[in-house]
Amino acid sequence: MNQADFPLLNTTHLAWLDNAATSQKPQAVLTAMTDFYSTTNANVHRGIYRLSEQATAAYEAVREQTRQLIGAASTTEIIFTSGATAGLNLLANALSSYVLKPDDVILLTPAEHHSNLVPWQLQAARYGAKLEFLPMRTDTTLDLATLANRLHDRVKLVALAHIANATGTVHDIQTIIQQARQRSIPVVIDAAQSVPHRSINVQQLDCDFLVWSGHKMCGPTGTGVVYGKQAWLEQLPPWQGGGNMIRTVFLDHATWNDLPYKFEAGTPNIAGVIGLGAAIKYLQTLGFDQIQASTETVYHYLLDQLATLDFVQVLGPTDRTQRSSIASFVVPGVHPHDVAQILDQHNVAVRAGHHCAQPLLRQLAIPATTRASVYFYNTTADIDQLVIGLKQVYSTFHGYLSRTNSGAL
């Protein structure tokens, strides 16, 4: 549905199935950004002139939209960043310096995107802390049977994805948050693959921090959000220094601005945030129930179609309630780069590689996968195009499948 709203989808015959990497942008977002630059462009939180006040008002209005989107208590809890990676680095730096001591533990999962692993590795090395990982079953679901023991006394931080980007596996974050809460351990949720797809309420979830990107939810690249509970954000030190984040600066020290500005150093991506606001409005006008329903219809069709291809193996749980929008698969005997290249010849865009989750694929003993990921604007025709391409993969490589020195499996 709604492909007509998306100029790129409207003018090509492209089956865009790389939504887990980035979404396409509706005209409303492009128009909002062009309008901003054409009529309202000025720096924010600075000028005494009217144009700056208008730009500031427009920028801050998106903060309120974002607060509503995730049900946060206050706009002081909404920090704009350049993306989920920047948000996770912000939290890794600020939280680690506040809570970590030597031999403390950061608890993660083996399925994290590198952006929710490497920042913690850097901080663990800095503070002499260690990383531990929740156990994962071979179907990539988390085994939470021993969760109480995993949340032992040395664990000072928990960070994990709501939905794993490489496989689409939905993690039971509610259980993990509840048990961590009982032990007063802060939890960081990487929601990059969930906020675009489903209605999230941070007060119901009761997570301490939630991070996501704007560009996977129809917004422009270079936008992202960190939600943090006010009580936490007030205690944490700033990460980056610069303009806007200060209250008073002396030659040898400085004091910090109020929330959320303490965490927004420098001129923000103002037009990007305006575009993000247009994206949120666009998605909310469609309604998240409708977005989820449309996506699931196409997603289930995708899984059904892949199941009919006996030369394709889909990774992840068989229980569809534990999956979301992503199908990561292998064609034994054919390297994912060859699969993706033949699909490209059929105007189907998918991702092939390690999906920034090398430890996960190493644990599964797979060098790389092909990943198709859907969003609400995809149609069953896009999936049919994918299936035609996959049949071409089979006919091209027929007789070459499952060779002993093959690339996949």
Partner: protein, 122 residues
């Protein structure tokens, strides 16, 4: 032009010189971490500096595997000094197919192993 031509697929199916060389003078392992392509080249060099035996092991996509096979054929019986100077163009000419920039890494990984084969391991 379809890059999956018969020659490429034949080399992928039955790579020439596939296997380890027991008495190798030089070996070199190269990995493309972005896709998991992984090749080790083995060569034996005569006192006169001529490559007189080639082998390779590993796994990769059709393009990188065919490239390894074609390159192994090409360098056999050539002077090592000349092979160490091979440019990307030599490899692309051997493959004879048009490649998009992201696939160049696939195509050139075996060449990287061969042209670095006398260097100390990483």
């Amino acid at each position: 032009m379809d890059i999956y031509q018969e020659q490429i697929l034949e080399h992928y199916k039955e790579p020439h010189h596939f296997g380890e060389l027991a008495n190798a003078s030089y070996t070199r392992h190269e990995v493309n971490t972005s896709c998991g392509d992984d090749f080790t080249f083995f060569i034996h060099v005569t006192d006169a500096g001529i490559i007189d035996a080639v082998g390779f092991t590993g796994q990769g996509c059709a393009i990188s595997t065919a490239a390894a096979s074609l390159l192994a054929d090409d360098i056999n019986h050539k002077p090592l000094a000349a092979v160490l100077e091979y440019s990307s163009d030599v490899m692309l000419n051997l493959l004879g197919i048009p490649l998009v920039p992201t696939r160049l890494k696939c195509a050139l990984l075996p060449l990287q192993a061969v042209t670095r084969i006398t260097q100390p391991p990483l």
